[in-house]
Amino acid sequence: MTAVVAEHDDHHDHHDHGPEKGFLRWIFTTNHKDIGTLYLVFALVMFFVGGTMALIIRSELFEPGLQFVDPNFFNSMTTMHALVMVFGAVMPAFVGLANWMIPMMIGAPDMALPRMNNMSFWMLVAGVLLLASTLFMEGGAPASGWTLYPPLVLQTGKAFPFAIFSVHLLGISSIMGAINVIATIFNMRAPGMTLMKMPLFVWTWLITAFLLIAIMPVFAGAVTMLLTDKFFDTSFFDAAGGGDPVLYQHIFWFFGHPEVYVMILPTFGVASTIIPVFARKPLFGYSSMVYATGAIAFLSFIVWAHHMFTVGLPIAGELYFMYATMLIAIPTGVKVFNWTATMWKGSMTFETPMLFSIAFVVLFTMGGFTGLMMSVAPVDFQYHDTYFIVAHFHYTLVPASVFILQAAGYYWLPKWTGNMYNEKIGRLHFWLSAVSVNILFFPQHFLGLAGMPRRIPDYAIQFADWNMVSSIGAFIYGFSQLLFVYVVIDTIRGGTGEKVTDEVWEDASKHSLEWTVPSPAPYHTFTTPPETIPTEHF
């Protein structure tokens, strides 16, 4: 590996390598920290846009009957909530973290392809703008569910082609972002930073990037077929012409299953980064964590049809996809045990990032177990398309991905801003979130087992009680998130007033390189590679 020494084209002022002055800085920037900030802010805004949609859904479901919105708009809300949260909030937030942290963790001066880095952010914005524009179109936004299944999705009004092209733009954005991550990790590591010395966050993102490059074109292909079926007379998903709507489901889930791991693997990475620091121990089983991540990524490509157990698959397919899916529990179990073993006999302290991380380990495991339940094909016939699946994937996304993203925020904000966040409000945010998220999603298991279907604006009277509980939880959870926004803004503007050290957290610099640079991290870091590589994490 070559030593990476950076050269910046600051011809005007060789002493000041700081950012451009003024607003244009944020449009033309190629700096990984600026772009990381753009991604993170964008994701936070989208988190509230998607959250508002969720609250519209939960308001409607507070009581049986139709209260606030018409059924088609309700279905638009479930669809857009998912698309916004997946493609606008969770994925961009992790790309933001990748931008900020990967170069600092591997001792690189910046991302490998800085111009393309800028482009992937703006393509994301363009994609989300196209998607958001569909809300105001004749016929409403897509209302088919985020899976965009034909033939239902073909009934979308004017929004249809906009939604399709939005997916194309989001795909382009993700692919470019992923290529950048791979090139950075393979090509920009500091001397001595061997692959097996990289922090796990870097490892999980490397593997996630491969997933993204492999699946985003698949989704693009699927929606392209939808487009041609609607406008150019093709018959991919039309049985009269020899096609098959189930074909769409196969293609979609070949994309869709790895896609959900795109949201969880970096989550694992951040958890594996935070837990050792607050347990004051090296991560237990570093190499097994790496291999488990790889195994999960590999398995994600060969289990897709467990999303389609009730569609009428051949019995051999049902059996194969059932057993293959169960295998995922093994590497995932390795991870959960490793996190637990990392904490075992550690000198733990419970600052906000650690609280969120511990809650993640417990609640993600819950979501994992319900996943295992649904992998059993015959039993899945009961759960399929009920609130049970809604509860399942929300447990793996909200108290997992979102909790960990917020943990990452608390963990790295002092490094990013040089200021300490307000620990009291952080903990309040944690406890409110951790309690309300369970009030919100736990009752949905009961609703699902009792047979309440998902994506329905009205329901039978026997589901009323738990829906009410769930909606109350939703509002507490939703409004608690404003505390997070408060903490972020407050920290940027000075926080507690306490100046943080370079290391911020006790002995953190033994774990990872970002804690060896000043706080706040200067505009350019590691323009010359670091001398020593931390080894505490493996």
Binding site: V4, V5, E7, H8, D9, F28, T29, T30, A112, L113, P114, R115, N118, M119, W122, V125, A126, L129, L130, S133, K158, P161, F162, F165, L169, I175, I179, I182, A183, T184, F186, N187, M188, I213, A214, I215, P217, V218, A220, G221, A222, T224, M225, L227, F232, D233, T234, S235, F236, D238, A239, A240, G241, G242, G243, D244, L247, F254, G312, L313
Partner: protein
């Protein structure tokens, strides 16, 4: 290439935003056009022009920077990785359409043709009540005979000639690369000229093939699943041949300007990789779409 210089990190970039604006305008225009709006096609044209101008300017910037020795060995590696993984993403894109062809031919069309009470290793259901009398024979436009009678495209004739053209263009491309490495500028330019020429000839023949399909064989994009898979696979491939040929033309122009050296010619390599990728996809098409 200045191999001992520092890793070049540009300070700001104007073209990515323009690329995004151009592409977004193009797609929004196309969407409007599909919705029957009159402003659609105009928007699309403007967006496309913006995008093309951006491409020209961005490539010019890259080539100027490269020629002034700003890219060291590390930058070259990043670019190569970028191109490699971009091609991999393209492979996955084509895989979807090949997959759709495989799935319909081997699974869903036979299921459609399963007779009353007949369960052919399928999903355990018979579609005979819906489509009785449908015989599952490839090529098909389905039980609804969507698009009417058609004649399938044979492998011999134009497609076979096109295979030869594209394979030879792969050879001339490699020949040009050898010329570049041996500092034989004449061989480099002749090789590239031949490659680009063969590429465009391929496109012209394919256009002829499409013309015949539409006007003499009754075979259109609307000819059921056969027409869908045939035209989408060969059409996307043809589009990639055009893009590849344009990239090669730019490389040809730069070779003519004397840009590349045996040590520093990323643009040539990227174009060549892309071209070989297009070549390999065609072989897949020739086997699975035309012959089988």
């Amino acid at each position: 290439m200045s191999t001992n210089g520092a890793y070049y990190i540009p300070h700001k970039a104007v073209w990515p935003v323009m690329a995004t604006a151009g592409l977004m305008l193009t797609l929004a225009g196309f969407a409007n056009h599909l919705n029957g709006s009159s402003i659609g096609s105009g928007m699309m044209m403007v967006g496309f022009v913006v995008f093309l101008v951006m491409l020209g300017l961005w490539f010019a910037l890259q080539s100027t920077e490269s020629e002034s020795g700003m890219y060291n060995h590390g930058v070259g590696i990043s670019y190569r990785m970028g191109m490699m993984w971009f091609i991999f993403s393209e492979v996955m894109f084509f895989a979807v359409f090949f997959g759709a062809l495989w799935y319909t031919r081997n699974l869903s069309v036979p299921w459609l043709g399963a007779g009353e009470g007949e369960f052919i290793s399928g999903p355990g259901r018979s579609t005979a009540t819906l489509w009785s009398g449908f015989e599952a024979v490839w090529p098909t436009n389905g039980p609804g005979k969507v698009g009417g009678e058609f004649e399938p495209m044979g492998a011999m004739g134009l497609p076979f000639i096109n295979t030869l053209l594209l394979l030879s263009s792969g050879v001339t491309c490699t020949w040009a690369h050898h010329g570049l490495l041996a500092k034989n500028r004449d061989q480099l330019i002749k090789g590239l000229l031949a490659t680009v020429g063969l590429g465009f000839l391929f496109v012209a023949f394919q256009a002829t093939e499409y013309y015949e399909a539409y006007h003499e064989m009754g075979l259109t994009l609307g000819s059921g699943i056969y027409g869908s898979t045939f035209f989408m696979l060969t059409g996307f491939h043809g589009f990639h041949v055009c893009v590849g040929a344009i990239i090669l033309s730019v490389v040809l122009f730069r070779s003519w300007k004397g840009h590349f050296s045996p040590e520093n010619h990323f643009a040539f390599e990227a174009a060549a990789w892309y071209w070989h990728f297009v070549d390999v996809v065609w072989l897949g098409l020739f086997i699975f779409v035309y012959i089988m």
